[in-house]
Every structure is written in C-alpha cells, then in structure tokens.
C-alpha cells in the first residue's frame, strides 16, 4: 500500500534520534578523573570544547538525526551515520586533549555515557543502512577491512592517546600484544583441534544413525556445564597427568593455565560442529548422492566431492558459532592463569579500573564481530546451491 504523500517518519530513526538527543542533554559527554581510580566528574560538550567546535559537533549530530528521521535512501543514511561517528570521535579526542595538561600522565579522560550512547545510536543507524543495502559477502568483508584500516590508522596516528583506554594501552603495550596473541591462539587452536575431531565424528553420526542420539546427547551435556565448573573438573586429571608424565608437564600441560582452558574450549566446540555436520549432510539430496554412486564415484569421492562440498556452508555456520563463542569464552581462561585479553578484564575489575576492563573488552568484542562477519561471508560464498 502506498503511503499518503508528505514526509514520513522513519521509526528506527525516531527512536535513535530521541535516544541520542536525550543522552546529549542529560548525560555527561566525557568523564574527567584526577587519577586512575578516583570517581570522575561529568563534563558537558560545551564545557570541554570551544564554542565553534561544540556547535559544529551538534550541527553534524542534528544532521544525522534529520537524515535518520526523513531520508529513506540507505546510502545517504550510511554516509550521515559514518560522518557522525567520525565527528563524535574527533570531539571526544579533542575533549581529552583539552582536559589533559601538557605532559600529564596521571589524569584520565574517558568518553561519558552520552558519547557511548551516541556511538551506539550512530552504529545502529550505520548497520541498519548496510543491511538495507544488502551488500554481497565480498563487499561486507571489504567494508570490514576498510573499517579496521581506518580505526587502526587513527589509533596509530596517536590522535586518541589522551583517552584513558589508550593510556592503559600505553602502559601495557607489550603485555597487550602478548595476551592478544594468546587469546587468538587459544580460540583458533581449540577450534582447529575441534574441527579435526568433530568433522569425522559428525560424518560418523550421519552414517550411523544409532550413534547420533548418544553422541549429540553427550555433547549437549558438556555444553550445559558452566565454563568455570569445567575448568575445575579438568584441573584434577590434567594435574595428575602432569605429575605422572614429566614430558607432558614440559609441554605445558598442567592443572591450571592454558591447558585446561584449551581442553574446555575444545569440548564446548564439539557440539556445534558435529551437529551442523550432521544437518549439513542430511541437507544433501538423496538423488544427488545416489547419482554420484551410480556414476561410479568411490565412497571417498562421493563424500569429498559431493556430500561435504554441499554440506560446507552449514558446517561453516557451525564453525562460526564456535569461533565467536571461543573468542568470548577465552576471556574466562584468565581466571585459571590461561592468559588472554581476559587478564586485563579481571585485573581491571580487581582494581576497579574500568579503563583496564575496556582495554580487554573492546578488542574481544571487535574480534568476535570480525570473526562473525568473515565466516558469514565464507559460508555464503561456499553456498552455491540456491534454496
């Protein structure tokens, strides 16, 4: 049905505009702290920026709101949202520079609730616009790459160095690189091990239906054990193993540390991959498999050239679930000395230093997001069979 003529209001735009405007008026734009752990005090946009910059920033945000409300074209909406993000980031960086006395390493300036909320609103507006544009898988990966490059360049340039998170980074730079590698290594390593075991197991479950209920049931039970409890359960056997076999201990297998974390992640990863392998193989048409055998393909050829290829998109969806889940769960490994970015999170909680928590949390969320985008694109690219 065609709507009556006249300006129509975009509902999402209305929600985001109202939320953003309320945040800007009612909530602190930045938080200033005399040092790392004292409570901060709120500062408004006009308190920290020269009048022209504050008005300019507000004008850009107003423009974004108008576009969000009244412009239906997704390209324009995306451009307005991205412009808003850039200006908002510059404003926060400028506020940090303005509030930090030259050479001072003690004061902390963090984005306030208003800045975070506005960032969320603009981010939602941008993702909504991208969704409406329906970009292909390669375009999405390209957009992600572009985004990473821009953020990376901005951070490397040093424009945000006076922000509290970057202060924490500056102090912990070496350890950050080390824990980041550890985090990614644990997530990818346990995923790789799980794929090696779960793929054949999934094929077996598909081939032997009698096994299916038992295997999937067992894996389901594992999935219900809380991560911390699983670490605890693994501590005893792995500790005993290390004592019994000195060479195992030399390999780093101990009751605490990375070993139980890797084993736990591996166990959690099995269910999604096994289940999706079974579902993916079931999805392959019976006639196709029958024809493949009838053409004279060997069992191995039917499995590798027909069944697994056609099941791949579904299997990749399972791997995506595992990877995103792993990146999040490695965080907890820090509790038992497994390392990873969770180290900063728990250290920050212990010291009530929220900036340190963010130093761990922001990269974790970004990694999970990037992994989801990449594997979604991969699953779509390998799916050459239209539904």
């Amino acid at each position: 049905m065609k709507r009556p003529r006249g300006p129509s209001i975009d509902r999402l735009g209305l929600l985001l505009s109202v939320l953003g405007a309320a945040a800007l008026v009612l909530l602190p734009f930045v938080v200033f702290k005399a040092n790392r752990i004292v409570l901060g005090d709120a500062r408004g946009l006009f308190e920290v920026l020269p009048a022209w910059a504050a008005w300019g920033c507000q004008a850009v945000l107003l423009l974004a709101a108008v576009v969000a409300l009244a412009v239906p074209g997704p390209k324009l909406r995306l451009a307005a949202a991205l412009l808003g993000v850039v200006v908002l980031s510059l404003a926060v960086a400028a506020a940090a520079d303005a509030l930090t006395p030259a050479g001072d390493k003690v004061v902390r300036v963090a984005p306030g609730a208003a800045a975070w909320l506005l960032l969320v609103c603009l981010g939602l507006m941008a993702t909504d616009a991208i969704t409406r544009l329906r970009p292909g898988p390669l375009t999405r990966v390209l957009l992600l790459g572009l985004f990473v490059a821009v953020v990376g360049a901005a951070l490397a340039h040093g424009g945000f160095d006076n922000l509290s998170v970057m202060r924490e980074y500056a102090v912990n730079a070496t350890r950050f690189a080390q824990e980041l590698r550890r985090h990614v290594g644990l997530a990818l390593g346990s995923l790789a091990a799980a794929v090696i075991v779960a793929l054949p197991l999934g094929i077996l479950c598909y081939r032997v239906p009698r096994l299916r209920a038992g295997v999937l049931g067992t894996l389901n039970v594992i999935e219900t054990i809380p991560a911390i409890a699983l670490f605890g359960i693994l501590m005893a056997p792995l500790g005993a193993l290390a004592v019994a076999l000195p060479w195992a201990a030399d390999l780093g297998i101990r009751g605490i540390g990375a070993a139980p974390a890797a084993v736990a992640l591996f166990l959690y990863a099995l269910l999604p991959i096994v289940a999706n392998t079974v579902v993916g193989l079931k999805r392959v048409s019976r006639a196709t498999v029958e024809a493949a055998h009838g053409m004279g393909m060997t069992n191995w050829q039917v499995m590798t050239r027909i069944e697994l290829v056609l099941a791949l998109p579904v299997i990749l969806t399972g791997i995506r679930v595992v990877l995103v889940q792993n990146i999040g769960m490695v965080t907890i490994a820090a509790l038992i000395g497994g390392g990873g970015l969770g180290t900063f999170v728990f250290q920050g909680i212990g010291q009530t230093a929220i900036d340190l928590v963010l130093l761990g949390a922001i990269p974790i969320v970004s990694l999970a997001f990037a992994a989801a985008v990449l594997l979604d694109a991969l699953a779509e690219l390998t799916d050459r069979v239209p539904a």
Binding site: S285, A291, H293, G294, M295, G296, M297, R384
Partner: protein
C-alpha cells in the same frame, strides 16, 4: 547384452527379488513394469551393483559383473534416476563430464564430447554449458541427466522412472528422444516404470513384475494376446486391450496395396490413431502416405479390426 540369471535379493526374511532371469538383447529396449514394492527398482540397482544380490548373477556381454570393483563397473553403465540427481554445485558441462573425468579422459576430448551431447539434446552449448542445474526447466534437467549417463559412451543404460516428474507433453518428447538415442548410439537400455503405456510405447520387450517375480517377459503384443498370468492381463488392462494392441503397429507396417478415397494418414501413425481418424471422418478406409509424401497403400476398417485381436 544384459543377462540376468536367477537374481535374488533378500533383506532378512523378506524376499524383494525372487530368482529373476531374463536377457536384454543388444541395441534393444527392455522395460520392467510393476506396481510400487514389486522389486523392480531393486532389480535394476542390482545390475550396476548399487544393491549387491544375495543370489544369482548378472552378465554384461557375457562377463560376470562381480569380476571388477563396483565403482569401475558403474563407470561403464549409464544410470538415470527419477529426479535426475544432478550435482547442484556443478555446471551442466561439469555434470555431463562426470564419468569421462573419473575415467581420466583428456580435457579436449571431454569438451568435444560434452558439446556433442548438448547438441544431441538440443541444448545450445553457448547458453547451457555454464548454467547450473537450478537454472534449467524440468525437461532440460532430464535431458542433462540422460546426457550425463551417456557421456562415456556406455554400452548399457539403466533408467529408473526417468520420465516420472515430467508433464505429459514433455514426457512424450523425452520418450521420442530415448528411441532416437537407441538408434543413434546403439545403446542397450533397461528401463523401470510403473506406467504400462510408457512400457508399451518404449519396450521391445516388457517384463511384468509383481512381488519380486517376473510374471512374463515378452513383446508387448504377446503380453496382450497371450498373457501368462491373470495378473498380467489385469495390469495391461482388459477393456482397452484391442486399442493397446492397435497402438503397437504403425500404418506403414499394416498398409496393403491399393487406393483409398478416405482421409490420408502418415505411415508413422499407429493403427489406433488411424482407427480414430476413420471413426471421426466416417470413412471406411484411409490412404497411407510416407514421410516422403509418396503413397504407401491403404488401410480398411476391416483390416484394422483384424489387427486388433489375437
């Protein structure tokens, strides 16, 4: 030539195929017809060993099919199934090239063969070689399925309800194409169907199957005129058997010398069609005209009637 000797298949205590024997002559079409559950598909699948028999044996050109690994045997036998089972992730050309690739033909030979088959099946290579199966119509998919089965020039083609999913007009065309293939490539064809009209239309010989046994294996006319079992006449149909019998003979075969004032009919028309034409026009005889336009004699109602009974 396919020789089936005492072939049986048992699943536990159930006998699905019970000591079946028959021979399919080289360059002929045999049709196995039966109700669902009669064991006809199992019988077909035992010939390319997709199902291993529990008794009896199958000879291809005199050689026992158990003499080589099953997958190598299958590469020498064309196989078409209902639903075709095209590989959805491969192009039409790749689908057709399946067996030649398994056999390790060189690429130029494969390409030439694929192109030849696409032309035989009236699929323009420019348009269809790179297309994916889901972009084709049902009739086109069926043709690609047959082309794929014929790619490595098999001497024997097995077909399991190959026309089951087609609408009547496309089905008739596909059946014509099959008769054409037999003429063109000299392929020995064994086809399974539940449709008696299809069996009579295509089969040089028809095997009527029920409960795992072949009740009768003979020429269609013999099934009609001398059914070996009451079930055979039930399945072939009693009330229209005269018309079925007439449909097995063409006007060209039955024409006798002479002129007719009646309507002209093509020599390729069946006697059933000629009779229909005579009933419609009210004439008592028809003039038979060859494909070249030359007269081939005439057919009277009495002569047609004589052909419609044993």
């Amino acid at each position: 030539m396919i020789t089936v000797e005492e072939l049986s298949k048992q699943y536990g205590p159930t006998t699905v195929v019970d000591a079946v024997s028959f021979t399919v002559e080289r360059n002929s079409i045999s049709v196995i017809v039966g109700t669902s559950g009669s064991g006809k598909s199992t019988l077909l699948r035992m010939i390319n060993r997709l199902v291993e028999p529990t008794g009896g044996r199958v000879l291809l050109e005199g050689n026992d099919t158990r003499g080589e690994p099953a997958h190598l045997l299958r590469r020498r036998i064309g196989y078409v199934i209902q639903g075709y089972g095209l590989f959805p992730h491969r192009t039409v050309a790749e689908n057709i090239a399946t067996v030649p690739r398994l056999l390790g033909w060189d690429t130029s030979r494969i390409r030439a063969r694929v192109e030849e088959l696409l032309r035989v099946f009236q699929l323009d290579p420019q348009t269809y070689a790179g297309a994916f199966p889901h972009q084709l119509s049902g009739g086109q998919q069926q043709r690609v399925g047959v082309a794929r089965a014929l790619a490595a020039e098999p001497a024997v083609l097995l077909m399991d309800e190959p026309f089951g999913a087609l609408d009547p007009i496309i089905r008739a065309k596909a059946q014509e194409d099959l008769l054409d293939i037999r003429r063109r490539f000299g392929t020995t064809i064994l086809l399974v169907t539940h449709d008696m009209d299809e069996a009579f239309r295509l089969g040089d010989r028809v095997a009527v199957m029920s409960s795992g046994r072949v009740l009768q294996y003979d020429r269609p006319a013999v099934l009609l005129t001398r059914p070996a079992d009451p079930l055979v006449s039930r399945m072939t149909g009693v009330c229209d058997r005269a018309l079925k019998l007439l449909s097995l003979t063409t006007a060209g075969e039955a024409a006798v010398p002479g002129d007719s004032e009646g309507p002209s009919v093509p020599a390729s028309a069946t006697l059933r069609d000629v009779l229909s034409e005579l009933v419609w026009s009210g004439a008592s005889s028809a003039a038979v005209i060859g494909a070249d336009g030359a007269p081939r004699g005439q057919l009277t109602v009495a002569a047609i009637f004589a052909r419609g009974r044993p």
